[in-house]
């Protein structure tokens, strides 16, 4: 029983960052309809920003997170303006392959700049974990959960309660009509992509210090993000949050009770099962897909 409780606590911490990854991608893949293979690279990028600010510049740990978010935002905006803008209107396969090219180039760039050796980030939190009854959780992971929750709520409010969020939803529902209503759609595309990218960078910056930082760390993160988005339904922010926690739970239980070697297979198995049984996601209203 105590083992199970520990798994639940781990699931909460992991699920928070997964949700962050998922809502970032659901904005880009779900709303903009771009199969974004650079999402994992943005995650890696955020983690390296953390490494640069804390380890190389010797600055405050808590300052590094906003730096990573802003840097991810800027990189996302650059990708949208240089690669996606000229391709607007071309078919989904071409866009996807361009994103694959960008992913290969950027990941190799990270390998070139920072090398393949895994890096770790020192944190200001005490080594000893917080112990409550049978479960223990490190202070760092609690901070990660709190920060992720804050970012998730902020994104939710941004999309659902602000004028910018309303304009975003309108633009991707009907580009022309939104444009006629006075929405500057040329601004909305890069904004949406940049916000999604900054969330990926934030997830990387939060999980980087928990694990280690290396150039390929984003690959699995990207696939997991796709699993979460598919699970929750495209463009569904609440769905992505729930999907993030479901994936975390499946991985924790899979690793704990089946085999730790197959922990990372859970995301893929969920993708296959959901797409075959219920391709609109678990929480969507019924509509035809594909």
């Amino acid at each position: 029983m105590s083992e199970f409780l520990q798994h639940l606590v781990n699931m909460l911490v992991l699920g928070g960052t997964y949700a962050l990854l998922g809502i970032g991608l659901t904005l880009i893949f779900g709303i903009m309809n771009v199969v974004n293979f650079t999402h994992g690279v943005l995650y890696t990028f955020g983690a390296y920003m953390m490494f640069i600010v804390v380890q190389q510049l010797g600055m405050n740990f808590f300052l590094a997170l906003p730096v990573a978010v802003v840097a991810g935002w800027a990189l996302g905006a650059i990708i949208e303006l240089t690669l996606l803008r000229p391709l607007r209107g071309s078919d989904i396969d071409t866009t996807m392959l361009v994103m694959i090219g960008a992913w290969i180039a950027m990941q190799s760039g990270a390998l070139w700049i920072w090398g393949g050796v895994a890096k770790s980030v020192a944190t200001p939190f005490p080594e000893a974990p917080l112990v409550i009854g049978p479960v223990s959780v490190s202070w760092l992971r609690l901070f990660v959960l709190a920060a992720a929750a804050l970012l998730i709520v902020a994104t939710y409010l941004l999309i659902n309660r602000t004028k910018l969020g309303c304009a975003m939803r309108a633009t991707f529902q009907d580009h022309d009509t939104a444009s006629l209503m006075g929405v500057n759609v040329d601004l909305i595309y890069p904004s949406t992509f940049a916000i999604g990218s900054s969330l990926a960078a934030a997830a990387g910056a939060l999980l980087g210090p928990v694990y280690v930082i290396f150039p390929q760390m984003g690959d699995l993160a990207a696939v997991k993000a796709f699993a979460i988005v598919i699970l929750g339904g495209l463009g569904n922010i609440t769905g992505a949050v729930i999907g993030g926690f479901i994936l975390a739970l499946a991985e924790e239980l899979g690793a704990g009770y089946v085999s730790s070697g197959y922990r990372d297979a859970m995301g893929f198995l969920i993708i296959i099962a959901v797409l075959i049984a219920r391709p609109t996601g678990l929480f969507a209203r019924s509509e035809r897909v594909g």
Binding site: V35, P86, I92, T94, V98, G101, I104, I230, S259, Y262
Partner: protein
């Protein structure tokens, strides 16, 4: 005209070992050739049915592992004490088994994943390849996991009346790969010109319309997936017996991406496309190696992919054949149909 060009190309490729003595270049040509076979099989799906499968390396890897395990033998325990023991078979049997097993996997994956289209199809196929990779990594009893399968024997072809021919040298392997590539090319060319090929292209152009004229979508797509997977399995088998060591990294996503780049840059839906694209991207590392660090080579790789998609979105071969027919004053052939003009007979 087309036939002459094809025969001249084959003769030119067959003559390469006669004047090329550099073993490093020969090695690059053999592995490139193997990947070109994989790319041709991917083109059957991507170029002629319009389905972008990003899990294609799964069939390549399954072919490699099937072939290697058939020739090495294995001993796995199931249900406690019960063991499945397989004695080593001749590698040539592994080659044919690889084709069958990969084709069967293609059938299963096709049946499941053709329920969805577009981005969803892409993600299902990636997921499938990753699950297979994780199985290869974790089922250590069968695959040795990350320790890799070593000392895979070379393919030996039994010759009638003579002793068998062991494909051991680079020269032998080059001609074996070339032979398989030509067979695969002819097979795919005949297939896409058949009734079945027209059904596939009809589906790609307009699925709803194709259904309304009586094309069985699932059957057509599944058959294409089976043939495509079987050819990829053959390529995987050649790879296993040439490199003679395989580990789960064979399932890496970058290998699928390599095949996709070969198809897209050469021109999807063009029979010669994967060969032209394959020769460019397969041999690019050879020429980049002396002037660039390995990481920089990959940056260039991604960069070239983006540039080709921006400048020649239809691919090199279709763009050039369009240019040629314009110069001759002919009307440009519609997409993907250029090769089907002089062969319109209807099989029973």
């Amino acid at each position: 005209m087309k036939l002459i060009a094809t025969l001249v190309s084959i003769a030119a490729l067959a003559s390469v070992p006669l004047w090329l003595r550099d073993p490093y270049l020969m090695n690059a040509l053999i592995t490139t050739g193997i990947f070109i076979i994989g790319a041709m099989s991917l083109n059957l799906l991507l170029g002629f049915t319009g389905q972008l499968s990003l899990g294609h390396v799964a069939f390549f890897g399954i072919g490699a592992y099937t072939s290697a395990l058939t020739s090495l033998g294995f001993d796995i325990g199931v249900f406690g004490d019960f063991h499945i023991v397989h004695e080593p078979w001749p590698p040539i049997a592994g080659f044919f088994l690889a084709i069958v097993v990969a084709g069967l996997c293609g059938y299963l994956v096709g049946r499941l994943s053709f329920r969805v289209r577009g981005a969803y199809f892409v993600i299902v196929t990636i997921s499938f390849a990753e699950v297979v990779r994780l199985v290869a990594l974790n089922w250590i009893e069968l695959t040795q996991g990350p320790l890799a399968l070593n000392n895979i024997r070379s393919i030996a072809i039994p010759l009638p009346g003579l002793s068998e021919l062991v494909i051991r040298t680079k020269l032998h392997n080059y001609y074996l790969v070339l032979t398989v590539a030509v067979i695969a090319y002819v097979l795919i060319a005949r297939l896409v010109r058949s009734h079945f090929g027209r059904a596939m292209r009809g589906l790609m152009e307009n699925e709803t319309l194709a259904v309304s004229v009586g094309i069985d979508v699932t059957r057509t797509l599944t058959l294409a997936a089976v043939i495509s997977a079987a050819i990829a399995g053959a390529a995987g088998s050649l790879y296993a017996h040439y490199i003679r060591i395989i580990d789960p990294d064979i399932f890496a996503f970058i290998n699928t991406v390599t095949m996709v780049i070969m198809v897209i840059s050469g021109g999807k839906g063009s029979l010669a496309g994967p060969i032209v694209g394959g020769l460019i991207f397969g041999l690019m590392p050879v020429f980049l190696r002396p002037i660039m660090a390995p990481e920089a080579q990959w940056i260039a790789y991604g960069g070239v992919l983006i540039v080709i998609l921006f400048l020649l979105p239809r691919g090199i071969v279709p763009s050039f054949s369009r240019l040629l027919s314009k110069q001759r004053g002919q009307a440009p052939a519609p997409d993907g149909m250029a090769f089907a003009k002089n062969d319109a007979k209807e099989p029973a």
